[in-house]
């Protein structure tokens, strides 16, 4: 007994350890479970289904709205359309208006966030394209595939355009389909790439049959079929064409768009918002009487608005601002006008609409020398605002002034004016509110791009 005991103990201990560790027991095994909270990228790439692809498409539309308020803030503040006051962040009124020695920083939210969110939508679209490319043939007909591809490429082009609008001649990256991104290209090359993408997408949309395999919101009402979406594609392409100074092409492109001098000016494509669970409300809506944290109209909007001989305002677009009970002043700026383009927290924000297309057509016609066609379109805009027909000189110079004036008031708060005065080289015409303020031409490329 004495002698056998240690041996037996050693045997028993070894046996236990062996049983535990080596018998193939899975007590020590762990299963590599997927993320329990969110669908994984791996899953959609390896196991695509029509429903998952439709989810991606909806995600693309939803994601286009994220931080769109910052894009609009940037364009509207530098374009001296509005002031964004913030009690907790002085950079809106310092950096964006170039106060004193302030500069636009390459690592501050006003450029990093909208830039990243646009590329995030691009990534979502690229994932959709990759999935379709891998497995589309087994899941969809050729026409259905073409619908996905035309949608994805159009949105990619539009998102790239918004970033190019901010960084302008600093450029953007256009090749971002893989994790290793391509080089930054200049503004002209970027616009050319966007134009080509839109054309390719237009081709796919024409081959996409009668319906998409995914839903679009009421913001795309009337444009949620391949044919309707193609008209939207051409509208954006026309915008790009005038940015490029390619006016004849713009007129051609508009023919396939939804431009219509008989249709409501508001007809178009919108970002829509709601208070439904998971949805967002209009991030650029501020109660116009709010203090501290608010959006105020630039006083020049009211100062320059059309008036009659008695000084009474005759332009009905005066309703885009509202007089404040108390003027708001901060950081050497003040305004007694609340910004009131978006009147509730669920008001939609236009992507593009008939009014912009009419103004593009007018602009192209001015440059092509078709002054009376241009005046016709300008008059549609003017009459809608309660103004009489244009009675000024019908010269290119005068008509350009009038066209820019109508763009300023018609597209107020929709993200155009800074870009418009920039492409006509008129940044120096924008009013400066404080000594030492600067009108910026372009944003720096975000620091995260490691340039």
């Amino acid at each position: 007994m004495y002698t056998s005991l240690p041996l037996r103990a050693v045997f028993a201990t070894s046996a236990l350890v062996l049983l535990l560790m080596l018998s193939g027991c899975d007590l020590m095994e762990l299963s590599d479970d997927p993320d329990p909270n969110e669908p994984s990228l791996e899953d959609i790439l390896q196991d695509p289904t029509p429903a998952k692809l439709a989810n991606l498409a909806v995600g693309i539309e939803a994601g286009m709205r994220t931080d769109i308020n910052l894009y609009l803030t940037n364009v509207s503040m530098i374009g001296r359309e509005a002031y964004r006051f913030s009690a907790s962040d002085p950079r809106f009124t310092a950096d964006l208006l170039g106060r004193g020695s302030s500069v636009l920083d390459n690592n501050t939210f006003y450029i990093t966030r909208p830039w990243a969110e646009r590329y995030r939508v691009v990534r979502n679209a690229e994932i959709m394209l990759e999935t379709i490319d891998n497995a589309g043939g087994t899941l969809f007909s050729d026409a259905q595939r073409a619908g996905f591809e035309g949608y994805a490429e159009t949105i990619i082009a539009y998102q790239l355009l918004l970033n190019a609008n901010l960084t302008f001649e600093n450029g953007i990256r256009i090749d971002v389909s893989a994790n290793d991104v391509g080089p930054v290209v200049g503004y002209d090359e970027a616009l050319q790439n966007i134009a080509s993408r839109l054309d390719a997408a237009f081709g796919r949309l024409q081959a996409a049959g009668d319906a998409f395999e995914f839903p679009l919101s009421e913001g795309f009402e009337g444009f949620d079929t391949p044919a309707g979406f193609a008209a939207f594609n051409r509208a954006i392409a026309a915008r790009v064409a005038v940015y490029q100074g390619n006016y004849a092409r713009a007129l051609t492109l508009l023919e396939d768009s939804f431009v219509d001098d008989d249709a409501p000016l508001a007809q178009g494509i919108y970002h829509v918002f709601s208070t439904a669970p998971g949805d967002i409300v209009n991030p650029w809506f501020f109660p116009p009487q709010q203090s501290g944290n608010l959006l105020a109209a630039h006083p020049s909007y009211v100062g320059d608005i059309a008036r009659d001989a008695d000084g009474e305002i005759v332009d009905s677009r005066f309703d885009k601002v509202v007089e404040r009970e108390d003027a708001f002043a901060a950081d050497g700026l003040s305004s007694n006008w609340g910004f009131f383009v978006y009147k509730t927290q669920v008001d939609p924000i236009p992507v593009t609409r008939n009014a912009e297309l009419l103004l593009i057509r007018a602009e192209a016609n001015i440059w092509e020398g078709n002054f009376s066609d241009a005046v016709d379109d300008l008059n549609v805009i003017r009459n809608a605002a309660g103004l009489a027909d244009y009675d000024g000189e019908e010269t290119q110079e005068a008509l350009i002034d009038e066209m820019l004036e109508q763009r300023r008031y018609e597209l107020y708060g929709e993200g155009h004016r800074w870009i418009d005065v920039r492409r006509y080289d008129r940044l120096d015409t924008l009013p400066l509110d404080r000594d030492g303020d600067t009108v910026w031409e372009r944003f720096p490329i975000p620091a995260s791009e490691n340039l």
Partner: protein, 1000 residues
């Protein structure tokens, strides 16, 4: 899968059965009987451990202090050990069969037993690490503490334990031996009776109203409580703190921040004891800041023409209101009632306790209520099998008010900064609150009408079986099976009725924020401990090996409902609802093995290894190995040692590694759920997953000397350590044009070096007066030695360089504060410079216990933190609203008021926000009187065992140069690196208590 598990367990039990039938004893022997008594009063001591030296033979004394032990023929030395008494050895004369032993109290804790493996313990004398042990008396005997972690403050050398909020219910950050991670989990692993407990801090999402994270920092600023606060400090028998990897390596991948091992009380084989205690106290604000006294001119300058009008109105009526007092001036009543019953017989012992705690805060309608019950049971099924089980239920209700940073003017603190003393925002007789003329909210209205409370229901249970497979003269084998569960549900409810000033002007007035969290941690362990004593020498080998499994499953749902129907709070009464839900599941499997050799208590050496795999790692199948090794050299036990005055002289050194597993979800690239037009969609998550993420690794070497002088009247322990963290979980930005923003990778190195020293003295030990003293000193120096990413702001490290931030930068202290500064005096910023450091230069604590005539004790714990800066942004907010109390002073005689000067400096220099947060604080002071036993016997006929009355105070006295409420503060709660960022916090309080304790 299930079937296979079943087969596995069958195999294991078969293995266990192999041991059954082995003898417990079986050798030539004599039987020795005896009694063990307390040397101080001669009373019998039950539960004393009696062993035969250099064998595995042992027993415990009975309730009457008696024992019987079989001593082998060739052995003659018995060892007696018991917690709180000095270890005593008795050599038996030839043929001696009975022995009487009296044990001397162990005032310096040298002979206590310390847990070093997962299932083995070692006498402190033989320990090769610096392990802090805190007894129940030290923890909760001196004064009351609302929470367990709060009770540790100032008691652990090498720890930085800091309260981040004065709000009821606690909120503590515990950092052991410096900064141990930059982005990983930063709090110690808490183990209670073998159960790994959840210490997460779950935010309530009041951010939906405060918008605190909308500005310069996106980190959470909801002021959450870390859940270790739920435990009742009075249930605790002892706490052991394994501070660094060299001691904690056996806990492997979860021990990077140290391990806090908590043992709760158990019953003794004795007559049933009933202990009742009632504490009543009061809490008040520790320091008031005051407010600016305006004139009509300054009121106009600060608040415009309306300011002048309101000021003149107030002046006419002689009505100036101290709003700091209105908000923070409440005297909160504190009441703690506890009852414990313990006892048992030879086979079964129990401890039953109950607690009722009702604490109010220094802000009206804030408070903390806790109810807790515990039952601990131990039962000896046979000589071979011991069972024990614990169950603890806690119900806690925390009302923390609304404080800290905001971007909406809604918190009490931010609103106070905009509230001059000449306005009147008090409610009228009908309870109507005037609108605040200069702020989005009326803080008195918010305080009185809103609700922000958390309710926790928590159960922690554990069960253990210890089976002695055999126990011979030379060998013993114990097998221990242990399982435990920690379950809680947390409901947080924040209700902002539509009548509040800021809700009325919102597009959807009336907000309800509802959070629901359920968490369950389960763990199992199976261990074997084999001890083997060589028959011819004093050499003992202790081998232990085992496996453990831990599963953590926590689910949090949060709902923000806006546009509530007036008077309603349910989610379905709202016009809009934003839900969120996050589930975090972690599953770990580990094995470990450890070998310890003890040569005649002269040389004690240990080597061990732990292997950990986790579902949070990129590779779930890989075991990450964490080795350890240590040696202690008891020079005083060698034969040549002859210096009688030095009764202990130990040299020790230890090495160990631990890990820190990546946060949940780090490895996943996923899509977020979005919705537009009522249809759900998926949008790529900008956090790019790191599919191959690995744990961080810490490597520590520590060395030390322990000296005991004059029969342990003086003890000095000195420890130095070097702790290096490699493969850190760092985040790097990826080009945003990829559609992603951030990804996690392993890299970089962080180094901590430190020293800890403790001197324990018994300067006087007489019948009429005794004095015990313990002084600790500790200091830590940290440096980011390698950082493969650009310098970045630490998590919760402030709001950017303009206001000062804590920045992680290669070659610098990780806790450095940097900010813009004007170095050439031209009135503009010259760039970003180092302005300070959050980490203190050193800390000291002083514990002194005085006993007069055996019945009267005075006990004082003082805590000195030297150095360490805070970022005081409260002052900035007061200055911006021009309400700071010293706004009109002109300390530098520049002719410009200090406040205006400070405001002018914003954007030029952040140096003014960096303020010395040193302090000297009387943390705890207690004065207690035990009624003499004779008096009790006469008066109560022996029905009362003891009566103790006393008074105590916590945080009563503080000296600090810091300008705001208190140097202990952090707007961001518990963070890996950052601390001391102050934005209008819930002010810290001080407490005074009266105690009555009765023993039956």
């Amino acid at each position: 899968m299930k079937h296979r598990h079943h087969a596995c367990w069958t195999l294991i039990w078969l293995g266990v059965l192999l041991f059954v039938g082995m003898p417990l004893t079986g050798w030539a022997q004599t039987t020795v009987e005896g009694t063990v008594t307390d040397a101080e009063d001669g009373s019998p001591l039950p539960g004393v451990n009696v062993t035969v030296q250099n064998t595995q033979i042992g027993t415990l004394t009975d309730p009457d202090g008696t024992f019987t032990i079989n001593v082998p023929a060739d052995r003659n030395t018995l060892v007696f050990s018991f917690v709180g008494f000095q270890r005593t050895t008795v050599t038996l004369e030839e043929g001696q069969t009975s022995v009487e032993v009296s044990l001397e109290p162990d005032v310096v804790g040298l002979d206590e037993v310390v847990v070093t493996g997962l299932a083995s313990s070692i006498a402190r004398e033989n320990l090769a690490n610096s392990v802090e042990t805190i007894s129940s008396d030290d923890l909760a005997g001196r004064t009351n503490s609302q929470t367990l972690d709060g009770a540790l403050s100032g008691k652990v050398a090498g720890a930085e334990i800091s309260s981040y909020s004065g709000a009821p219910g606690g909120g503590m950050s515990v950092k052991l031996r410096g900064v141990s991670t930059i982005n990983g989990n930063s709090q110690p692993l808490y183990i209670i009776d073998g159960v790994v407990v959840n210490n997460s801090a779950i935010p309530s999402n009041v951010n939906a109203v405060t918008q605190a994270a909308a500005g310069g920092s996106r980190s959470n600023q909801d002021n959450p409580v870390n859940r270790i606060a739920d435990l009742n400090p009075q249930d605790i028998e002892s706490i052991e703190i394994l501070k660094g990897p060299s001691a904690a390596a056996i806990y492997g991948g979860r021990a990077a921040n140290g391990v806090v091992i908590i043992n709760t009380k158990s019953g003794a084989s004795d007559a049933t004891r009933v202990d009742f205690s009632q504490t009543l106290g009061a809490t008040t604000i520790r320091k008031k800041l005051g407010t600016r006294q305006f004139t009509a001119e300054t009121a106009e300058a600060a608040f415009g023409s309306e300011g002048r009008t309101l000021f003149l109105e107030a002046q006419n009526e002689g009505r100036f209101i101290d709003y700091e007092d209105e908000l923070f001036g409440n005297t909160g009543l504190l009441s703690t009632t506890s009852l414990s019953i313990s006892g048992g017989n030879e086979d079964t012992r129990f401890f039953l306790s109950g607690l009722l705690q009702n604490d109010d805060g220094i802000v009206e309608r804030t408070g903390y209520d806790k109810r807790s019950v515990r039952l601990n049971l131990d039962h000896d099924l046979s000589d071979r099998i011991q069972l024990s089980g614990t169950v603890n239920y806690v119900n806690a209700n925390t009302r923390r008010g609304l404080t800290g940073n905001d971007n909406s003017g809604t918190t009490f603190g931010v609103a106070l900064t905009a509230t001059p003393n000449f306005i009147d925002i008090r409610p009228d007789e009908d309870g109507n609150y005037p609108d605040h003329p200069f702020n989005a909210s009326n803080p008195l209205q918010t305080r009185d009408l809103f609700t922000n409370q958390e309710v926790v229901n928590r159960t922690i249970t554990s069960a253990q079986v210890e089976y002695t497979a055999f126990n011979t003269e030379q060998q013993s084998l114990r097998i221990i099976g242990q399982a435990g569960a920690d379950f809680f549900s947390l409901e947080s409810e924040a209700l902002f009725p539509e009548t509040l000033q800021f809700e009325r002007t919102s597009p959807e007035p009336g907000t309800s924020i509802l959070g629901e969290t359920t968490s369950i941690n389960t763990n199992v362990r199976l261990l074997g401990v084999h001890s083997y004593t060589l028959s011819d020498s004093d050499v003992t080998f202790t081998t232990q090996a085992g496996v453990t499994g831990v599963r953590i499953d926590q689910m949090t749902s949060n709902f923000v409902a806006r546009g509530l129907i007036p008077g309603q709070q349910n989610l379905d009464q709202a016009t809009s609802l934003s839900p969120s839900q996050v589930r975090e599941v972690q599953n770990d499997r580990s094995f470990f093995a450890q070998e310890e050799v003890n040569i005649a208590n002269q040389v004690i050496a240990t080597v061990g290894v732990r292997g950990d795999r986790s579902t949070l790692n990129g590779d779930v199948d890989r075991f990450y190995l964490y080795p350890k090794a240590s040696a202690a050299l008891n020079i005083h036990n060698f034969a040549f040692w002859s210096a009688d005055a030095v009764n202990q002289f130990k040299l020790r050194a230890a090495f160990g590694q631990t890990g820190n597993i990546a946060g949940f979800g780090t490895k996943f690239t996923s899509f977020e759920a979005v919705s537009v037009g009522g249809v759900a969609g998926t949008l790529i998550n900008p956090q790019r997953g790191s599919a191959d993420v690995e744990p961080e690794r810490q490597t520590e070497i520590e060395a030390g000397i322990d000296l005991g002088l004059w029969d342990n009247r003086a003890n000095l322990a000195l420890t130095v350590y070097r702790k290096e963290i490699t493969d850190q979980l760092l985040q790097r930005e990826v080009p945003a044009s990829t559609g992603f923003r951030l990804e996690t990778f392993n890299g970089g190195t962080l180094l901590n070096r430190g020293v800890e020293a403790t001197l324990a003295l018994v300067p006087v030990e007489r019948d009429r007066f005794s004095w015990n003293s313990r002084t600790s000193f500790w200091a830590n120096d940290a440096e980011v030695t390698s950082l493969p990413v650009p310098a970045f702001r630490a998590l919760g490290g402030g709001f950017g360089a303009t206001l000062g931030e804590i920045r992680i930068e290669e070659g610098q202290s990780p806790t450095q504060i940097v900010g813009i500064d004007d170095r050439n005096g031209d009135g503009t910023s010259d760039g970003v410079f180092q302005l300070g450091d959050v980490a203190p230069d050193f800390q000291m604590s002083f514990t002194n216990d005085f006993t007069f005539y055996e019945n009267l004790t005075l006990s004082v714990l003082a805590h000195w933190k030297k150095g360490g800066d805070n970022l005081n942004l409260s002052e900035l907010l007061f200055d911006l609203s021009q309400t700071s109390p010293d706004f009109d002073e002109d300390s530098n005689n520049s002719g410009v008021p200090d406040g205006a000067e400070r405001v002018g400096n914003v954007g030029v220099s952040a140096a003014q926000f960096v303020q010395d947060a040193s302090y000297f604080r009387i943390r705890e002071i207690g004065l207690f009187y035990d009624l003499p036993t004779g008096l009790l016997d006469r008066t109560f006929n022996g029905s009362l065992r003891s009566v103790r009355i006393g008074a105590s105070a916590r945080n009563w006295f503080t000296i600090t140069p810091y300008k705001s409420y208190d140097p202990e503060v952090n707007n961001f709660g518990t963070q890996p690196v950052s601390n001391g960022v102050e934005v209008t916090p819930f002010p810290q309080s001080k407490e005074l208590f009266f105690h009555l304790r009765v023993g039956l």
